[in-house]
Structure formats: C-alpha cells, structure tokens
C-alpha cells in the first residue's frame, strides 16, 4: 500500500508532470499554474482520505483533472451563452472552394507512438498547435481526446449543443492535423 510523502516534497516531485498534463487541457499557462496550486492545496486538505490504492502521482493528477473540468464548467456557466461570440468553426479555408478537396496534400506520418512519447519537442509543438485553436475548440478536443469524456458530458461542461460540439471537434481536428503536419511531420 502506498503512503503519502511529505507535502513539502510534492512540488519538486510532481509539479512538472501536473503542469505537462494541464497544458494539454488549458491553453493559458497562467491558468494552468493556478490550477496546479489549487490541486496541491486541495490535496493537502484531503490527504487523510488518501487510500493508497493508487500512486501519489495518480492521486494528484486525479485531483487536477477534477479541477480542470470544474474550471471549464464554471467558465462557461458563468457567462450567458448569448453574450459569447460564437467561435469560428468554419473549415472552408482548409479546402478548395470549388471541388472541396484538401488544399494541402496530407502527406505521410510515419511514426511509432513509442518514439514520440518522450520527445519533449513534439509535445511542445502539439501544445503550440492547440494554443492556436480558439479556446473552446481546443477544450472540446482535449476533453474528448485527453479526458476521453463522452460527448454528452463534454456538451454539459462546455454548455454547447451536440451539433455545435461536432463542429468544434471537426475544426479542431482539421486545423490541428494540418498544424502538426507543417510544424512537425514535414521536418521529420
């Protein structure tokens, strides 16, 4: 059974991993840092409830994941939907106007997942590409791919209809794929 280490050591041991996780979910580094601080504070408060069924790190990332979802939920609950400018989910700029084929050949991505897992540069490029997406578009993608949340849940968190969600995810995938192709795979 796992035991908790001294909370003073948590920051040195886990802050980098939490930050790496948060940056895949939240585009603003400042907000990501705040959420990490909140995670440690919440962990400190609830350290007596740590059962030791998972590792300390898994436990902390679990708290962070809740913090991120709560942050997104309140972000979109507090602002009336009508007052938000709808995000541009149009994908027209990626396709030929007349025959609707991709403007840029997709190219080939030859990669082994194992090789990219520890390539820090790749994940920084990935984060930059995510940051170039409109916020809600990026968040919809991260909730779907990183959190593996169901569409129903994502709609609730982001306060959107399912048709709106399909548009957000489509735009995210089209743009992210092209961004990774241009900024990573074409140079590999």
């Amino acid at each position: 059974m796992a035991h908790l280490s001294n909370p003073q050591q948590w920051v040195d041991l886990y802050a980098d991993a939490l930050y790496a996780y948060a940056l895949k979910m939240i585009s603003h580094p400042d907000q990501a840092e705040n959420l990490i601080q909140e995670t440690f504070l919440a962990a400190l408060k609830s350290k007596d409830s740590f059962k030791g069924n998972s590792s300390e790190k898994t436990w902390l990332i679990g708290i962070l994941r809740h913090k991120i979802t709560d942050h997104l939920r309140s972000k979109y609950r507090e602002v009336p939907v009508s007052s938000l400018a709808p995000e541009d989910t149009n994908v027209d700029s990626f396709f030929d106007q007349i025959n609707e084929t991709l403007k840029k050949n997709p190219g080939s991505w030859d990669f082994q997942p194992d090789q990219l897992l520890n390539k820090e540069e790749f994940w920084r490029t990935f984060e930059k590409c995510l940051q170039r997406l409109p916020p809600k578009t990026a968040e919809a993608f991260s909730l779907s791919e990183m959190e593996q949340m169901s569409s129903k849940e994502i709609c609730k968190v982001l306060n959107v209809s399912s048709t709106n969600l399909w548009s957000l995810l489509h735009r995210a995938r089209v743009q992210l794929r092209q961004c990774l192709q241009i900024n990573w795979f074409e140079h590999e």
Partner: protein
C-alpha cells in the same frame, strides 16, 4: 460505377467526408453515413491518409496521457519561481 447506385449514394466531397470522419470518432454514424464515407474513402487516397493520421493521433495522445500519469520521470517544465511560490502557499496554508 452503376448509375443507379450513384443516384442512391452520390459521392460526397472531401470536406463532407472529413466531417463524417471526425463525427465518427465521437458518435456512431448512421448506416447511410457509413456507406457514403466508405465509398468516398475507397476512391480517395488523401482522405484515407487523413483518417489514418487522425486515428494515429488519437492513439498517441491516449498513450501519452497514460504515460504522463504512470511514468515517474518527467522533464522540467514549470519555472523554479512558480514552484517556490506554490511551496510558500502550501507552507502558509
């Protein structure tokens, strides 16, 4: 292709196919949608490639996520200044 079949199942564009590919990653497509996407992919090498890349990216992100949670070593990302600030907050709380 048989013209009667073409009438029943008109060829969709790459833009429409990419929308269906994306939606298919989050919901179960209708049979009609599956058929028109499959037909498109049969003729379009570029879209077939895109679908392969999207599926590869999904797998990569999910593996990375588990790796981040389970592996012990992570490269340093957060600045020491921020780490010190958080430590101080923890001590004061």
């Amino acid at each position: 292709m048989n013209s009667a079949l073409m009438k029943m199942m008109p060829m969709i564009s790459c833009k429409k196919a990419s929308r269906l590919m994306s939606e298919g990653m989050n919901r179960r497509l209708l049979i009609k949608e599956v058929m028109s996407l499959k037909l498109h992919l049969f003729f379009c090498a570029a879209c077939k490639q895109v679908l392969k890349q999207l599926k590869g990216l999904r797998k990569l992100i999910r593996t990375y996520r588990n790796h981040l949670i389970l592996e012990s070593s992570n490269s340093s990302r957060l600045s020491q200044v921020v780490k010190d600030k958080i430590k101080q907050t923890l001590i004061n709380s």
